[in-house]
């Protein structure tokens, strides 16, 4: 809980500073606060937030998924192909893409649970494998949606009007839906309780009768399916995808957002609200750099520095408290 408050404060602080510094003398307005900028920021938070929730599913079990960016690429290339080249109706095409991505997750789960391979290795190979296959499959062509995606594109580019000149971007609504559903699953259901228990102490969970293998597999499925959903939204947003670059490094954004939001890499720790705030902070920082800097060359550096600061601060606080002796009884 303290962690959530910390990151929320940081978010507000960065937003306030950015807003103050974005004052434009010519138009006498704050560029950051323009509805164009805010809508754009919220849209990007929605898009990347879905990926961070995906990553969190696997991190909570004590695993990791490095193939998220590659799965985004798979979804981003398959959706235009199914809509344009095959000519499937939009709902069927989208369902087919999500199914393929879920199967990729199942494959990861089988390798991790069945063969006991390390998640890092399985998904690192997946990262290389899926992008490589998609490049061959598309012949490195740019996969455009053209007119075929017209109706679907509302999912990525549409907005729900709130005031005369400001609307809530639909991807943000998608993230809210995904977030609420995940939050209920994690906090309120038996499956969620078991997921967190096995993430921290798999042996103890197994001896308590928890079906650890099945649950671990299902989290890989959820992760890849959500990454696929993210991939669909991304390609609907920009209208085309190129296999060699689409979704590059997105797994790192996704993982960084989750970790920044308090999901512990050792497993069994984290809240969806934190993940959403973490993803928001990542996008806010990138927005800040774009607004205030001459170029976005420093973007990666700033993001890296902020995450490092967050992790280091957390560790220092933890040591400080543990040095004060074993924790007392519950308050």
């Amino acid at each position: 809980m303290n962690k959530l408050i910390g990151i929320a404060l940081l978010l507000v602080l960065v937003a306030a500073v950015t807003a103050a510094l974005s004052y434009d003398d010519a138009s006498q307005t704050f560029t950051f606060l323009s509805s164009y900028n805010l809508e754009n920021l919220l849209r990007r938070i929605g898009l990347f937030g879905v990926l961070s929730v995906a990553a969190a599913f696997v991190i909570v079990t004590g695993g990791i998924d490095l193939s998220i960016g590659a799965v985004v690429c798979v979804a981003g290339c398959l959706l235009p192909w199914l809509l344009v080249d095959v000519g499937l109706p939009a709902p069927i095409a989208m369902s087919a893409v999500l199914l393929v991505c879920a199967l990729i997750g199942l494959w990861h789960g089988l390798l991790v649970v069945g063969l006991r391979l390390q998640p890092f290795v399985v998904t690192l190979c997946g990262l290389l494998l899926y992008r490589g296959l998609m490049r061959k499959f598309t012949g490195d062509r740019t996969m455009g949606l053209g007119e075929a995606g017209e109706g679907l594109r509302w999912l990525a580019t549409g907005k729900i009007p709130l005031t005369a000149d400001f609307g809530l971007p639909v991807p943000m609504c998608v993230l809210l839906l995904v977030g609420v559903a995940t939050g209920i699953l994690w906090q309120r259901t038996v499956a969620g309780r078991h997921l967190f228990a096995l993430g921290r102490n798999e042996e103890a969970a197994r001896f308590a009768g928890v079906r650890t293998g099945l649950l671990t597999m299902m989290s890989y499925v959820a992760c890849s399916a959500l990454a696929g959903l993210g991939g669909c939204l991304f390609v609907l947003d920009v209208n085309s995808a190129q296999a060699s670059s689409f979704g590059n490094f997105y797994e790192l954004y996704a993982i960084a957002g989750a970790v920044l939001g308090g999901v512990a890499l050792r497993g069994g720790e984290g809240m969806v609200l934190g993940v959403v705030l973490g993803a928001a902070l990542m996008q806010l920082l990138s927005n800040t750099i774009n607004l205030l800097g001459d170029s976005n060359q420093l973007e990666f550096a700033v993001v890296g520095a902020v995450i490092l600061f967050g992790a280091g601060f957390d560790e220092v606080v933890r040591r400080f408290f543990s040095a004060k002796g074993p924790a007392g009884s519950g308050r």
Binding site: T189, A197, R200, G330
Partner: protein
Amino acid sequence: MTSTQSSASKGVPDAALLEARGVSKTFPGVRALDAVDFAVCAGEVVALVGENGAGKSTLMKVLAGLHQPDEGGLAMNGGPVALGGPIDAMQRGIALIHQELSLCENLTVSGAMFLGAELRRGPFLREQEMAAATAGWLARLGLDADPRALVSSLRMGQRQLLEIARALRADAKVLIMDEPTSSLTDAEARRLFEVVKELRRDGVGIVYITHRLAEIETIADRVVGLRDGRNSGALEAGEITQDRMVALMVGRDLAGPSRTPHPPGEVVLEVCGLKTHAWPDAAVDLQLRRGEVVGVAGLLGAGRTEVLRALFGVDKRAAGEVVLEGQTLRSGDVRGAIASGLGMLPEDRKSEGLVSAMSVRENVSLPTLRARGAWLDRGYDRATSATAIEDLLIACSSGEQQVSSLSGGNQQKVVLGKWLAASPSVLLLDEPTRGVDVGARAEIYRRLDGLARAGLAILFVSSELDEVLQLADRVLVLREGAVVGDLTGADRTEAQIMMLATGALAPQESR
């Protein structure tokens, strides 16, 4: 249900809740259990006693379904059962409260309490009901904790009680408690005894395993002894005294084996007021002379390993001074310790003693690597490993063989060889023959004896009393981090050591 006197000779009363009949279990190289009988009735506390390695843990794991017996079997309420695993055992009402607690620390108290058996409405948790039920169990055990607090915020004693509560929630009929008080404060331990007595009144059968004989005197209805994996007898209520329990543990031969002592030389290692972080209130003083072999005995957790680690500098010392041949060793400085002439064979060979993926040659030369300019001196490497292989009769195809493919005994010889290559003046050994077969063991004893005669001082920790008595000129007994006995000559007997180690005998006067 109180007919515990009837067949007392075998220590197996009738109408037992849980029973082991002629159970045997063999691990590679060790017969851990040999036709062991054991039983616990409803409303009875049975204590299981034995030295380290007598087979207590193995029996406990068989009873809890973690190991399958090779021969013999289990029975519940008189009928034979085969436990399919720990979950099966749990469902039949057998709960193991382990030394290493098995709680998920990230859950709340009520979450941990109901893990795997959540109260649910469809897929959803019924948190309110679980918290309320948990509060009831906690109150019954006198555990003052909020059901919604995190497990990680509980003290060890509270977690222990929580595990018991969890077992009772799962309707346990038999509780197996392994060293339940090892991490408890005195007050927490007293609370635990009250709980045990209440459970006994409620008809729960309790198997109680501990090294603390005083606890058994206060709590047990019956004592079953194990020695070398066999039943060594039983004590009924009224016969339970610490002396008789020690006799069950070590047997009747109370005389130490004869051996020729090494002639000790001048003092080479001097330790003053050494305090470890595990036992910050107990100071250890000791002197080691050239050519002397000193054994350190004590129970698990008595701080033996911690003393060796602090001497060698793997752990920082909480306080105290270590002087090796006139040089003061800095705390936490392994490089300095090695340079001054200290070597250490650690307790866990695989993770601390060897780099498993490297060859014999690379392991042997690791502490003493020599360089020619920027390059490794491979000639020195080969020569050192060849010497070690020849000297210690290490059975390997060549120095290039990977150490992980060697037998336990040969691996241990590699660790020994790597320190001998450094020609130390003091060698620290922690469980030097753990997992080592009889042949290699004799080889290692012979080598150590020879080294001591050549002037090496040896300080070693062993849980096997035979080994301590066979190797050591002098035995230091540790209890709760402090030296409670310094035995030489005819005083070095198993009984004497056990009495001091368990606290059945008051600490000796300081020398």
